[in-house]
C-alpha cells in the first residue's frame, strides 16, 4: 500500500517537473520566435543607426551573443540556484520583482474569487431552486452579462464613473501594498476585484446551477425531505455539500488563471501584479523576466491544481475511499 502511494507521489512529481520543463522550453522558443530583441525593443527604430561594432557591444551586454542552447541551460541552471535573472530595465533581480508582484496578484486573485463565490454560488442556487422560473431567468441573465461584458469595458466604465462623478479613484494614487497601508490597499483592490469577480462569478454560477439541479434529482434528497429535514439545511448541507466538487474544480481553474495575472485589469487600475510584469518583459524583450516569471506562474498553477485535488479528498469521502 505504501509503495503504491509512493509510486503515485513519484509519478505526480515527475509529471509536474516534466510539465514545468515543457513550459520552460516552450516559453524560451516562443520568445526567440517573436521578431526583435532587447536591443530593438529598447532603441526602437534608432537601432537602425547602430554600427556593427555598436550592435556587437550591445549583444554582448545583454548576453545575446551566446548560443541559444547555452542561453537556455544557463538560465535554467541559474533558476535552480535561486538566480532568476536580472531586469536591466528595472535594475532589480527577477526574484525581487516577483517577490513584489506575486503577493499583489495573489491578493487580487483571492479577493476576486471571494467576490465571485459570494455572487456566483447563491445566485446559482437561487436559479436552480426553480428552473425556468423568473428567478432562474435573472440568474441566467447575470451569468450571461458576466460572460459577455469584456473586462476592459467594465473596468474603464467603473473607473471613469467613480472618478468623474464621485472623485473616488484610489488607484490614481501610488500603489500601496497590504503591509504598507492596508486601508488604501483595500480601496485600490475593490474595483479591480469587482470587475474580475463579476466575470468569474458567471461560470461559477452556471456550474453551481447545473450541479445543484443534478444533485437535487438524487433519491437521498427526496428521502431527507421526507424525513423532515428543514429546507434551508437540506439545500445547504445535503444539496450544496454534494454539489461542491464541480464548483471547487471551476473555482480552482479560475484561481489558477487569476494567478497568471489579469493583465488588462492590472493595466487599467495600475495594479503592479505579475501580469504586468510579464507584459512589460515581453514588450522590452527581457527574456529572463518573461521566462522566469512564466515558470513561477506555471508552478503556482500546478500547486493550485494540487490543492484542488486535496480539497476533493476533504469534501468528498468517495474520493478518499478510491
Amino acid at each position: 500500500m505504501r509503495a503504491v502511494v509512493r509510486n503515485r507521489v513519484v509519478r505526480r512529481v515527475a509529471g509536474t517537473l516534466g510539465t514545468l520543463f515543457g513550459v520552460a522550453v516552450f516559453v524560451f522558443v516562443m520568445l526567440r520566435a517573436i521578431p526583435g530583441d532587447q536591443i530593438t525593443a529598447g532603441l526602437g527604430t534608432e537601432a537602425a543607426a547602430l554600427t556593427p561594432a555598436q550592435r556587437a557591444a550591445l549583444e554582448h551586454y545583454y548576453g545575446l551573443d551566446q548560443p541559444l542552447v547555452t542561453q537556455f541551460f544557463s538560465w535554467l541552471g541559474n533558476m535552480f540556484t535561486g538566480n532568476f535573472g536580472y531586469s536591466a530595465r528595472n535594475q532589480q533581480s527577477v526574484l525581487d520583482l516577483t517577490v513584489q508582484s506575486l503577493p499583489v496578484t495573489f491578493e487580487l486573485a483571492v479577493l476576486s474569487i471571494v467576490l465571485a463565490l459570494l455572487i456566483g454560488v447563491p445566485l446559482g442556487m437561487v436559479s436552480a431552486s426553480k428552473a425556468g422560473a423568473p428567478r432562474d431567468a435573472v440568474g441566467q441573465a447575470v451569468s450571461l452579462a458576466g460572460l459577455s461584458i469584456p473586462a476592459f469595458l467594465l473596468a474603464t466604465t467603473l473607473l471613469s464613473i467613480s472618478a468623474a462623478s464621485f472623485g473616488f479613484n484610489p488607484n490614481g494614487q501610488g500603489f500601496a501594498t497590504l503591509l504598507e497601508d492596508p486601508l488604501l490597499n483595500l480601496q485600490q483592490m475593490v474595483l479591480p476585484a469587482l470587475v474580475l469577480g463579476f466575470g468569474i462569478a458567471a461560470p461559477i454560477l452556471r456550474t453551481t446551477r447545473a450541479a445543484v439541479l443534478e444533485v437535487r434529482s438524487h433519491d437521498f434528497v427526496r428521502t431527507a425531505r421526507a424525513k423532515g429535514v428543514p429546507e434551508r439545511r437540506l439545500q445547504v448541507r445535503h444539496v450544496l455539500g454534494n454539489a461542491l466538487v464541480p464548483i471547487v474544480t471551476m473555482t480552482g481553474l479560475q484561481f489558477g488563471y487569476l494567478l497568471g495575472g489579469a493583465v488588462v485589469v492590472e493595466q487599467i487600475f495600475s495594479v503592479p501584479g505579475i501580469g504586468r510584469q510579464v507584459l512589460l518583459g515581453i514588450q522590452q524583450k527581457e527574456y529572463a523576466v518573461v521566462q522566469s516569471t512564466v515558470l513561477v506562474i506555471a508552478l503556482a498553477f500546478v500547486l493550485v491544481n494540487l490543492l484542488t485535488d486535496v480539497l476533493y479528498r476533504i469534501i468528498d469521502p468517495r474520493v478518499r475511499a478510491s
Binding site: P35, G36, T40, G42, L43, G44, T45, E46, A47, A48, A49, L50, T51, A53, Q54, A57, L58, Y61, S87, A88, R89, Q91, Q92, L97, L115, L118, I119, P122, L123, M125, V126, T156, L159, S160, S162, A163, A164, F166, G167, F168, N169, P170, G172, Q173, G174, F175, A176, D181, L184, L186, Q187, V190, L194, V236, I268, S270, P272, R276, Q277, Q284
Partner: protein
C-alpha cells in the same frame, strides 16, 4: 431570493461603501506614494526603460533624464540653441575648431565639480563605438576633443559643422562625471540637471527632488516631481479628474478630447516636429522609377488622411517641420490630389495598368497608424495603385524597418530642430539611416554639405528649402502631416511650457500653485 444571496450582495456593497467612505482621493493624494506638499505628479504610461542618458531613446526615459542631466547647449522654448553647461562657444574662421567655454561652479548631484575633464571624457566615450551611444553619429565631424584648461573644451572638426551646437543639446549628449560608469548610473543617476533622483519604485513611479545647487538663475519651482506610471491613458484622465495627477502629455486626440470634456482639466495643444509619412523605398521594385513615386504623391489627399485618421488634429506638412526651416507644402508637385496627373505619371513609367506596393504598418506604436494606412490604401486604389498593407506588431515592425525590408512604411518619425539632424542621417549617401531612407543623390549630398558648412541662418534656410524641394520633386517619401501633443493640466498648475520637440524640460519652471 434566499438569505444567503442577500447576505452576499449586502456584504459586497458594505465593503465598497466602507472603503469608499474612508477614501482620501477627493483631494490631493495623501496615502502611501502620495506626493509631498506642493509636489507635482505627472502621469505617464510607462517608466523609463533605462536611466543611462547616452542610450535613452524611449520618450518617457528622455523626459525623466533631461530633468536630471545637463548638456553643453540647450534649446529654449522656441527651439533656438542657447547656452547650457557651456556659457559660450566660438567657431574658428575655417570652421574646423569649435571652442566652448564652460560654466563655472557647476556640480554633479554627488557634489563633485563639473569641468572640462568631464566634458572631454563624455564626448570621447560617446564617440567610442564600444559605448554604443545612440548619438555617436551626431559627432561624426569631430576628429578629437581637447581640454586645455578646466573651463575650456576644444572640438577639432574634419570640416565645418553648423549643426553641431544643436546636436549637443539632446540628452543623449548629457555630460557625465568622468568617475561614473554606466552600471553605476543605471541605478544612481548623477547629473547636473535641475532635479536629482529621490526614489524609484520599478514600474510604478520615479520621484525627483529639486536640486538646490542647480546652476540656472531660476531654481526649480516644485520641490518634487513624481512621474507616476498609469499604463492606460484613459486611467490617467481619471486620475486627473480625481485630483491624483496634475499634469500629463497625451498623443491620442481622442484621449485629449475626453480629458477636456470633463471641464476640470485644461488641454493645450502644441504642433510637433515629428511627422507622419509614407516612406517609400526607392531602391525596390516599381518604386525605383521616380514616375511611380510621383504617381503615389499625386494620388494622395493629405488633408483627407489627417481628417479621417487623426480627427483633423494637425497640419499638412512638407519634409521640414522645424519652425525656423519649415517647408511650404504648397510648393510640392501636386499640392492637391490630382488623379489625372497620377495616371500620367504611371503612363510615363509604363505602368498604366497599375502597380502594387507592399507597405508595413505598425499596430500599437502610435494611435493613428492603421487608420492612416487604410485611408492611404483607399485613396491609392482609385489611382490603380494597390497598397498592400502588412499590419505588424510594433516589435516586428521595428525589425523590418531597421532592416529596410519594405517597399513602403507608414511611419511617425521624430523631427529635430536642425534639418541636418533630421535628414542628414537619412538622405546623405553615407548617412547611418540611408539604407532605411531608400534614397540618396549627389545633389542632396552636396546640399547637406553646404548646409553644414554655412552658419548664416538665411543662407541655411535657402539651402534646406532646396533640400525639401529635391525630396518632394523626387517623391523620396510622401510627407503627410504633423500632429499635436496635448498637455493636460489641472487647476493650479502654472509655468509649464510645452515644446514642439515634446520635451518636458520646463517642468523646472512649473508649480502647483
Amino acid at each position: 431570493m434566499p438569505r444567503g444571496a442577500f447576505s452576499a450582495v449586502a456584504l459586497t456593497a458594505a465593503l465598497s461603501i466602507a472603503l469608499t467612505s474612508c477614501s482620501s482621493s477627493s483631494g490631493p493624494a495623501t496615502g502611501t506614494g502620495a506626493p509631498a506638499a506642493k509636489g507635482l505628479v505627472v502621469g505617464v504610461t510607462s517608466d523609463p526603460d533605462t536611466l543611462f542618458p547616452w542610450k535613452a531613446t524611449q520618450f518617457q526615459a528622455v523626459n525623466v533624464l533631461q530633468n536630471l542631466y545637463g548638456t553643453l547647449t540647450e534649446f529654449d522654448k522656441d527651439l533656438n540653441v542657447v547656452p547650457g553647461l557651456a556659457e559660450s562657444w566660438e567657431t574658428s574662421e575655417d570652421g574646423k575648431t569649435l571652442t566652448l567655454k564652460l560654466r563655472q561652479g557647476v556640480t554633479f548631484a554627488d557634489g563633485s565639480a563639473f569641468d572640462s575633464k568631464d566634458a572631454k571624457h563624455s564626448l570621447d566615450k560617446i564617440m567610442d563605438e564600444a559605448t554604443a551611444a545612440v548619438a555617436m553619429a551626431s559627432l561624426s565631424s569631430v576628429k578629437s576633443v581637447e581640454a586645455p584648461d578646466p573651463a575650456t573644451v576644444v572640438l577639432n572638426l574634419t570640416g565645418p559643422d553648423a549643426a553641431l551646437p544643436a546636436n549637443l543639446a539632446t540628452v543623449n549628449m548629457a555630460m557625465l562625471s568622468s568617475d561614473d560608469t554606466e552600471e553605476k548610473l543605471n541605478s544612481t543617476p548623477n547629473g547636473t540637471g535641475p532635479f536629482t533622483l529621490s526614489k524609484r519604485v520599478p514600474s510604478q513611479s520615479i520621484t525627483l527632488a529639486r536640486n538646490d545647487k542647480y546652476w540656472g538663475g531660476e531654481k526649480p519651482k516644485a520641490p518634487t516631481i513624481e512621474f507616476r506610471v498609469i499604463p492606460d491613458e484613459s486611467s490617467i484622465v481619471s486620475a486627473m479628474q480625481s485630483g491624483n495627477v496634475q499634469l500629463a502629455v497625451f498623443n491620442d486626440p481622442l484621449v485629449a478630447q475626453t480629458a477636456e470634456g470633463g471641464g476640470t482639466i485644461t488641454v493645450a495643444k502644441t504642433p510637433q516636429l515629428s511627422y507622419h509619412v509614407l516612406q517609400l523605398n526607392a531602391r525596390r521594385g516599381d518604386l525605383k522609377d521616380v514616375n511611380v513615386r510621383l504617381a503615389v504623391q499625386c494620388a494622395i489627399d493629405r488633408k483627407q488622411v489627417l481628417d479621417t485618421a487623426a480627427l483633423g488634429e494637425g497640419e499638412v506638412t512638407g519634409p521640414i517641420t522645424a519652425p525656423a526651416f519649415k517647408s511650404d507644402p504648397n510648393k510640392r508637385p501636386c499640392p492637391n490630389r490630382d488623379l489625372a496627373k497620377a495616371a500620367e505619371y504611371l503612363g510615363k513609367a509604363g505602368k498604366s495598368g497599375g502597380v502594387t506596393v507592399k507597405a508595413i504598418v505598425s499596430q500599437g506604436e502610435y494611435a493613428t497608424s492603421v487608420n492612416e494606412a487604410q485611408n492611404l490604401k483607399a485613396q491609392l486604389a482609385e489611382a490603380k495603385i494597390n497598397l498592400e498593407l502588412e499590419v505588424l506588431e510594433s516589435g516586428a515592425f521595428v525589425d523590418r524597418w531597421v532592416a529596410a525590408d519594405f517597399d513602403a512604411a507608414v511611419a511617425l518619425n521624430g523631427g529635430r530642430p536642425d534639418p541636418d539632424g533630421s535628414y542628414g542621417r537619412y538622405f546623405t549617401s553615407k548617412g547611418n539611416l540611408n539604407k532605411v531612407a531608400g534614397y540618396s543623390s549627389p545633389e542632396l549630398d552636396k546640399l547637406f554639405a553646404e548646409g553644414k558648412a554655412t552658419t548664416d541662418q538665411a543662407a541655411r534656410k535657402a539651402i534646406y528649402d532646396q533640400v525639401g524641394a529635391h525630396l518632394e520633386e523626387n517623391a523620396a517619401w510622401i510627407w503627410l502631416f504633423a500632429g499635436y501633443t496635448y498637455t493636460a493640466t489641472t487647476a493650479g498648475v502654472q509655468g509649464f511650457v510645452p515644446m514642439a520637440n515634446g520635451s518636458l524640460q520646463y517642468l523646472r519652471t512649473t508649480s502647483t500653485g
